[in-house]
């Protein structure tokens, strides 16, 4: 075991030998990430239709399946139809607060067994029960915190009521989001991540951020592209038009 001080001292000694090296620079950072993030949000409030169209194209290019509904009330029937087509019976969803709506009653009426996560739970018993439900579910419903048009990517923050596995363990992942989640470029994502980091109200967010670009895939056997190796075989995005 090396002590931190010794480890870093060795590196410092080597680094010191190289002063006068070639010019180099890190990426420019927004001086006020929160303000920069707000500025992007304001711009996107006007440009979101173009971003949405680009997202649809890129999402479909990575084998994502795009849906569009006028209001959140119209989302559960779409989710139920996806479940029916795939023979899915068990559904796990994020906490209604994290989703922005409660799909459970409507999905239950469609005959689906719904396990909705509740943000208040974190006892060991709740943990065990949740894992069993998530492992048994064939379909997982989440929101999306950022939706990146440039690459067709859904970005999900983990946290209370928003488990990481909802978008991972079931065969089918369905993400529901509105226009305010759209971003155009990776650069904008960089600003959002910087802003997230300086935001004092980080209690709401968990320890993991996942960028999801299409279904799980591999080409490890003779370079044959195969979907759903560990994660979902299908990813659906449901865009809700109503602001």
């Amino acid at each position: 075991m090396t002590a931190r001080a010794d480890f870093l001292a060795r590196i410092r000694r080597e680094v010191a030998k190289t002063t006068g090296q070639v010019a180099a620079s890190t990426a420019p950072r927004p001086p006020h990430p929160g303000a920069a993030a707000d500025a992007i949000r304001r711009e996107l409030a006007e440009r979101w239709p173009q971003a949405l169209e680009r997202f649809r194209q890129e999402f479909e290019r990575v084998a994502g399946i795009f849906h569009r509904v006028p209001t959140v009330e119209a989302a559960p029937p779409v989710i139920a139809a996806i479940a029916r087509e795939r023979g899915a019976r068990n559904v796990v969803t994020w906490d209604p607060g994290a989703l922005g709506f409660d799909p459970a009653p409507a999905l239950a009426r469609e005959g689906l067994a719904v396990a909705a996560v509740s943000a208040g739970q974190e006892s060991e018993a709740a943990r065990v029960r949740h894992r069993a439900e998530a492992a048994a579910a064939q379909l997982g419903v989440t929101g999306a915190d950022f939706v990146l048009a440039e690459t067709g990517t859904l970005i999900l923050l983990s946290g209370a009521g928003r488990p990481r596995s909802t978008s991972l363990l079931p065969d089918v992942h369905v993400a529901v989001f509105g226009r305010d989640r759209l971003l155009e470029s990776l650069e904008q994502v960089g600003v959002m991540l910087e802003a997230l980091h300086v935001d004092p109200d980080r209690a709401t967010s968990g320890a993991m951020i996942n960028f999801i670009t299409g279904p799980s895939r591999t080409a490890d056997i003779e370079l044959t592209l195969t979907r759903g190796v560990h994660g979902p075989k299908e990813v659906h995005a449901i865009f809700v038009e109503a602001p």
Binding site: R4, T26, V62, R131, E150, A160
Partner: protein, 468 residues
Amino acid sequence: MSDAALRTPFPERASAALKDGFLQEALTIATTKFIDLRRESFAGFPQGEALRDQARAIKEATLQRLDAHLDRLADNVERLGGVVHWATTAEEAREIVLRLARDRGVRMAVKSKSMATEEIDLNEALEHAGITPIETDLGEYIIQLAHEKPSHIIAPAIHKTKGQVAELFSRELRGQFPADPEVLTAVARQALREKFLQADMGITGANFAVADTGTVVLVTNEGNGRMVTSLPRIHVAIMGIEKVIPSMSDLVVFLAILARSATGQKLSSYTTLVRGPRRAGELEGPEEFHLVLLDNGRSRQIASTLREALYCLRCGACLNVCPVYRQIGGHAYGHTYPGPIGILLTAMLKGNESVRELAHASSLCGACKDVCPVRIDIPRMLIELREHLDRDKIAPWGERVVFRAFRRLLMSEPAFRLSARAGRLLQRPFVRGGRLRGLPLLFGRWTRTRDLPPVAARTFRERWKDLR
């Protein structure tokens, strides 16, 4: 690779690979496909070139203050509730992980693909301690079941046919599985899903670590990296010290070019940002997060010949375009990291002696430098490496004598002219099909694996004299 395999000299390993018909075909198909995917991806991405320059500048800037960035990374990981470990050598890194596993009663560890853990031979150490390591990347899983080593940085099992995989799965997982990638993938999904849910420890590498936020970043396609970092109660990430980057703004620059360089994707299916153990309110995620910072010879190169190799993102693009890799594949190199960058990384981790033959396994064509997302000047470093091998008398005696003589010739105009004439006469018995083959004596070592162009009937100098 086992020591026994390494005792076979490189030329023999290489020529065995050249005679392996399936390997030859698999290599051609795989590398050509990767090259095309990469090219198409960058063709539709005009800002790619500027981003590559920017990424290179970030790597250089980070190296210039590497100690400060690592210090900051450690502070932030600890602030988030993680534990940072400092490993100067591979042995220290292994001990750290073993002690963590033993102290916590870990019996099975699931692993996401990590070159750093390959580098330190972690699996062997875990097995020896009675802890079962399970590789969960499909390619790595195949390799582990077959007791082999990866042959490509990002496609570890490209040397195996689907028939071989079907046979392997049928034997190891007790079933009768057809040689169908789709079926075999489903078989692995089921077998590994259980392991993810049972394992006590998840072990990963790191593609990046953001100093400013204490975030470890994993880039994967299969989703196993997410499983490994979400389901077991302990997560251990092992990363080379050069993987640290300053900020999230830097991260997105690398993300924009990494997947494009590796597989031609705009982004890999999953980019996972890990910010310590699970937080209050989270139902899932590890209770403990450990980050092992691995030096293992890296810091020695900060002020030395191989500095630029510390920029490497491990995308594998330089393997695909290398005329040597394309012919012999990854195993013939005999070390964890194959291909052009692999030669440099091997020299970095194991010393110059370990690449005395490999340093010449390059035509210096420069294709690797052209495709490298951070424009690492691999050919320059290979030449410098060869120079070191000569100066430190690591290169074989014969090679050093011949090259010294050659140097003399090139530095003296009369000697050069005379030798061209002499060569023209002496080469006659050895020219076949317009190439010099099977030279005698010391020169034979050269022509055993390479053809040489003969001295021209009339040299340039002779023709130039007439033209004037």
